[in-house]
Amino acid sequence: MASRLGESFWGDFFRLCRAVPRSMKITLLNLFRRPVTVHYPDKTRSYPDRYRGLLALTYDKETGEENCIGCRLCEYICPPQVIKVEMLKAEKRNFAKVFTLELYACEFCELCVQVCPTDAIIMMKSFDMSTADRRELLLDKDRLHHIGLQFEPSWATGNLLRDMQTPPKAPKVEAAAPGGAAAEKAGDVAE
C-alpha cells in the first residue's frame, strides 16, 4: 500500500475495509479482558519501595527523642520553600524548636530526605491525606510524628540514598602513591 490517503478512491476504500474490522477487534478483545481498576478506598495498591508520599519526622524508638537536629539543610534545599526549621541549641545535641512543612505546596521531590544527615525526615508509602481544609495540611512537629506512626515508611532515608548515590570510590592508581599495599589492592579491583 504505497499510495497515500486521498490518492485513489478504491485504495482508500480498501484500506478502510481492512482498518475497520481491525480496530473493532481490538475494542472487542478489550471488552473480555479483566478491568485493571483497583477499588481504591476498599483496596489499596501495593506501593513501590521508593514511593515518594507523605513526609514524616522520625523519632528514636528507644529514647523517644526526635532525630532532627535542626540543621536546616532541608529548609535550604527545598525548591518550593515549604519547610521552616528553627534550631533549639542544647548541650549534647541540637533539636528542632519549630519544624513546619506546608504540604499543600510540597512537590514531593524527596530532596529534603536526601540531604537529611540524621534520617530524621522520611517519606511514607501513602498519599491518603485529602481534606477540605487547607490548614490541616500545614504540618507541625506533632502531625509529622503522627504521620510517621500511621503509615508504612518508604525504603529511602537520607543515609541509604547517599550510600546508593555516591559513585564507587574510583581507585586512583597514580594518586595513591604512598602505602604500596593499598594501591596495589585498589589496582586489582580496577582491573
Binding site: F9, F13, M24, T27, L28, N30, L31, T37
Partner: protein
C-alpha cells in the same frame, strides 16, 4: 369514543414512561460497556455495581441551577429542549413492540418514523440559535449539515426491507421476515444493515461522527448554554432517538420479535425485540469507542460520495430483485 380516548391515553402514558425509564438505564448500560472496552469498571459506587447511578444523575440534573444567558433569545431558547424532545419521543408511537402491542400500528408506520425522527433538527437548531453563543451556533449549523446529509442514505437503506416486504406498515415488515431475517438476506440485506448502522451513527451525531460536540473546538456543541432540567431533556431526547433507531434497526433487519417462544406470548416477543434493539445499540456504542473523530468535510464526503450513491444502487438492486421474484422473495 371517550373510552377509546382514555384507553389510548393510558397506553401512551405507559409506553412513554417505559421509554423514559429505559433511556435512563441505557445510559448506564452504555457507560458500563464503554468502561469495559477501556479496561475500566464504570459506575460502581451508587447502589450495587452502580445500578442506581442513572437515578443519581437524574436527581443531580434536577437540583442544578437553571442558568439562562442574558443575551439569549428567551422564547426560542426555552422552547428548544421541548421541540427537540417531542419528535424523539413521537417516533415510538408507531413502533409495534410485539404483535398487537404498541400505541398505533399505522399503515405508513415507517414513513411516520423517518419523517418525525428528522424533525429533531428543528429543536437542535433552535437551541443553537437561541443560546446566542458562537459555539452553539456553529455546532448547530454543523449538525444540520450532517443530519440532512445522513438522513437521505438512512431513508434509502430503510426502504430496502420496505421494498422487499411490500408494505410501509412496520408489523407487516416484521411479519415478512418470518422465514429469513433481512440481515441474513445476502448480499442486499446484509449490506443494507451495515449501511444502516453507519447512517445511524452519523444521524445520531455519535462518535466518530460527532463534529457537533467537538470538545476541543466547540465544547458541548449546541447544548453548551443549557443546564439543569433543560439539559436533561436534551439528553433524554438524544438517547430516546438512539433507542428508537435501534428498535427500528432491529425491526427492519433482525426479525423484530421473532425468537424462541415468541409465537405463544407477545410479551416474550417484546423481550426478544428489546434484546435485539439493545444489540444494535451496543454495536453502535462499540463503533463509538473504536474510532477517532472524522473531519467535517470527510463526514460530508463519506455521505455524498459513497454512502448516498451506494444506498441508491442498493435500493435499485433490491427493486430489480423484487420485480423479478415478486415481494417476499417470490
Amino acid at each position: 369514543m371517550i373510552v377509546a380516548a382514555v384507553n389510548a391515553f393510558i397506553v401512551a402514558f405507559i409506553v412513554l414512561n417505559v421509554i423514559i425509564g429505559m433511556v435512563t438505564y441505557v445510559t448506564l448500560l452504555e457507560r458500563k460497556f464503554a468502561a469495559r472496552m477501556q479496561s475500566r469498571i464504570g459506575p460502581y459506587r451508587v447502589g450495587p455495581h452502580g445500578l442506581l447511578q442513572p437515578i443519581a444523575d437524574a436527581l443531580k440534573l434536577m437540583m442544578k441551577e437553571d442558568v439562562v444567558p442574558r443575551a439569549a433569545d428567551r422564547p426560542v431558547y426555552n422552547l428548544a429542549p421541548i421541540v427537540f424532545l417531542v419528535p424523539c419521543m413521537l417516533i415510538f408511537a408507531t413502533l409495534p413492540f410485539a404483535p398487537g402491542l404498541g400505541v398505533a400500528d399505522l399503515n405508513i408506520g415507517i414513513l411516520f418514523f423517518l419523517a418525525v425522527s428528522a424533525m429533531e433538527i428543528v429543536g437542535l437548531f433552535m437551541g443553537g440559535w437561541g443560546s446566542n453563543n458562537k459555539y452553539a451556533l456553529l455546532s448547530a449549523m454543523r449538525a444540520v449539515n450532517q443530519i440532512i446529509s445522513y438522513d437521505l442514505p438512512f431513508i434509502f437503506v430503510a426502504l430496502v426491507p420496505v421494498l422487499h416486504a411490500g408494505s410501509l406498515r412496520l408489523s407487516d415488515i416484521a411479519a415478512a421476515q418470518a422465514g429469513l431475517w433481512y440481515v441474513a438476506w445476502f448480499p442486499l440485506g446484509t449490506i443494507a444493515f451495515l449501511f444502516y448502522i453507519v447512517a445511524t451513527v452519523a444521524a445520531e451525531n455519535r462518535v466518530p461522527f460527532d463534529i457537533l460536540e467537538a470538545e476541543s473546538e466547540l465544547i458541548a456543541g449546541f447544548r453548551v448554554e443549557y443546564s439543569g432540567m433543560k439539559f436533561a431533556l436534551i439528553q433524554l431526547g438524544e438517547y430516546a432517538h438512539m433507542i428508537g433507531t435501534s428498535f427500528l434497526g432491529a425491526l427492519l433487519f433482525l426479525g423484530a420479535w421473532a425468537g424462541p417462544g415468541s409465537d405463544g406470548s407477545p410479551w416474550l416477543g417484546a423481550v426478544w425485540f428489546t434484546l435485539k434493539a439493545m444489540f444494535v445499540f451496543l454495536v453502535v456504542t462499540w463503533i463509538r469507542w473504536s474510532f477517532v473523530r472524522i473531519r467535517a468535510d470527510q463526514i460530508l464526503a463519506i455521505s455524498w460520495k459513497f454512502l448516498m450513491p451506494a444506498a441508491l444502487l442498493l435500493l435499485m438492486a433490491t427493486a430489480v430483485v423484487v420485480a423479478l421474484q415478486g415481494p417476499h422473495g417470490g
